[in-house]
């Protein structure tokens, strides 16, 4: 028994036995494939760090991160307008997409007729597969005019007392960028949320129903609390995507390196400025400052993605104990 187990590729390697050549080749290949990922990720950070170092030296890390002016011609490089634009548009995207995605997932997983699931799932997948430049074009031709003529006047009338919804209504700006990001991250959040909902033990839902819970009460006491951490993980995955989106955002955000409290105003985002200015950057400091922006973006995304991973892991472990 022990001898036959040792020959299985999954068993712990025993140094005394000579493994077959195929096994060894296979394991070398797997280690190489796994290591390549780490190597590439490490190289990206290394290369970005080296490219960004001159900018950090010349400007100072604090002044670079907190600087509000970005004028390559006069040598002013402040990252804050881009960090701000990235975070604000992503926040708008999450606020809009999360309720829709959770509602959609609950409908598909708990309420809706099973017949409806495949077409809706297909529609969601389609949303995920549309190239972002198409979203940008759609945003420019459809979303931005609609935001200018309908959404912004409405918000200004209802919530105009908030600084968020003041100022000239031009359509191009944080709000349009946030809305287009919302559509783009909806499939990510909805897909992961559905997985989380599906992983909830049916016994838990039956337990609620057996107490005389209605379907909605069952969702409230058994489904949503159990799925909470997983939905948070899904949200962070969507956020990661929103933070890095380049093309669609730059087409509708207005590309102005400024900071405004109003969502109606034009702004700029980290990936957008990198993509727009990289080809035309002539001074070494400008290039280095763009690399520094990339490093900032990478840092934010990495932190959020790791958090998402930990959260999803925690939920599944908790459910494993409960079932």
């Amino acid at each position: 028994m022990a001898a036959s187990l040792a020959r299985l590729p999954t068993a712990a390697p025993s140094p005394r036995r000579s493994r077959r050549a195929g096994d060894r080749l296979w394991s070398v290949g797997l280690v190489a494939a796994g290591g390549a990922i780490l190597l590439v990720a490490g190289l990206v950070i290394l290369v970005l760090g080296r490219a960004a170092a001159p900018a950090f030296h010349a400007l100072g890390v604090g002044r670079f991160l907190a600087g509000q002016d970005w004028d390559p011609v006069s040598g002013a490089f402040g990252a804050l307008p881009f960090i701000y634009g990235t975070l604000v548009t992503s926040a708008v995207a999450i606020l809009v997409a999360l309720p829709v995605a959770v509602g959609l997932s609950l409908f598909l997983a708990e309420m809706g007729p099973p017949r409806l699931r495949p077409p809706v799932a297909f529609a969601i997948e389609t949303l995920a597969s549309i190239p972002s430049v198409i979203y940008g074009l759609w945003g420019l031709f459809v979303l931005v005019p609609w935001v200018r003529t309908t959404v912004e006047p409405l918000l200004g009338r209802l919530l105009g007392w908030l600084p968020l919804f003041t100022g000239p209504r031009i359509g191009l700006g944080y709000l349009s960028a946030g809305l287009i990001l919302a559509v783009m991250i909806l499939p990510t959040i909805a897909a992961v949320t559905q997985e989380v909902l599906r992983s909830i033990p049916p016994a838990l839902k039956e337990g609620a129903l057996a107490l005389g819970a209605t379907r909605w009460e069952m969702i409230r006491i058994a489904v949503l609390p159990t799925a909470r951490a997983g939905i948070l993980g899904a949200t962070l995955l969507g956020l990661g995507r929103a933070l890095g989106e380049t093309m669609a955002v730059t087409m509708v955000i207005g590309n102005a390196p400024e900071i405004h409290a109003s969502l109606f105003a034009a702004g700029y985002s980290l990936p957008a400025v990198i993509a727009n200015e990289f080809a035309e950057a002539t001074s070494p400091l400008h290039l280095s400052a763009l690399a520094a922006l990339a490093l900032v973006l990478l840092g934010v995304t990495l932190v959020l993605n790791s958090a998402a991973r930990v959260l999803v892991l925690l939920t599944s472990r908790r459910l494993g104990e409960a079932s």
């Binding site: 099973p114 033990p201 016994a203 838990l204 039956e206 337990g207 609620a208 129903l209 057996a210 107490l211 005389g212 819970a213 209605t214 009460e217 006491i221 058994a222 609390p225 159990t226 909470r228 908790r318 459910l319 104990e321 409960a322 079932s323």
Partner: protein, 259 residues
Amino acid sequence: MSAAPQASPTATKISVERLDAWYGATHAVRGVSLEIPDRAVTALIGPSGCGKSTFLRCLNRMHELLPSARAEGRVLLDGEDLLSGEVDPVDLRRRVGMVFQRPNPFPTLSIRDNVIAGFKLNGMRGGRAETVERCLRQAALWDEVKDRLGASPLSLSGGQQQRLCIARALAVEPEVLLMDEPASALDPIATARLEELIHELKERYTIVLVTHNLQQAARTSDQTAFFYMGELAEAGRTEQIFTNPRERRTEDYVTGKFG
């Protein structure tokens, strides 16, 4: 010993008349008629796939959770037909509670909130702290958890979790308690405690217990119903079923010739 099948003089709580149930094309319960006496334990026994769990689920319409399932016949709870369109399953399940094979406390709620989850849902009157204590005492769990009511139910052992689920079901003040192999995930000591508890609970509640464990049925129940291939092969006083069955199939099953 007389030959009367219903020796117990108590009133009938649930009267099942020619019940048929299907899961898709599977005819799981075939023409079963059974009287379930009030404030007594009725054990449902039989080999796997004999329809006893399906039968149990028809008693509070939990079978409807599978879209392909349907049931025909009459299930009268105090004379009212549960399967008729007029009975709301949500109201029904407040009267007919259920305990499942594996303990299924709500993992994100505290022990206290688990007990009163159904109580809150139903907007019931009365002090919550008193209800928690009363139900936990009835479920023989109070002394073990009274100092940590705010803790997670996952910190309890399997047997304790199962008693917590019973307390949770009792908080809704049901009339009938359905138990679907409640001890199947428990160790022998926890099982013994659960059987003691069942014995105490039948003073107040009508209990229907599905079990794979013949000794458990013999120890805890007043009436036993033997299901075979979806049919009710034989039902009667537990003592009679185990010592003097009328049917050959029953005798073979309770003596361990198959199952």
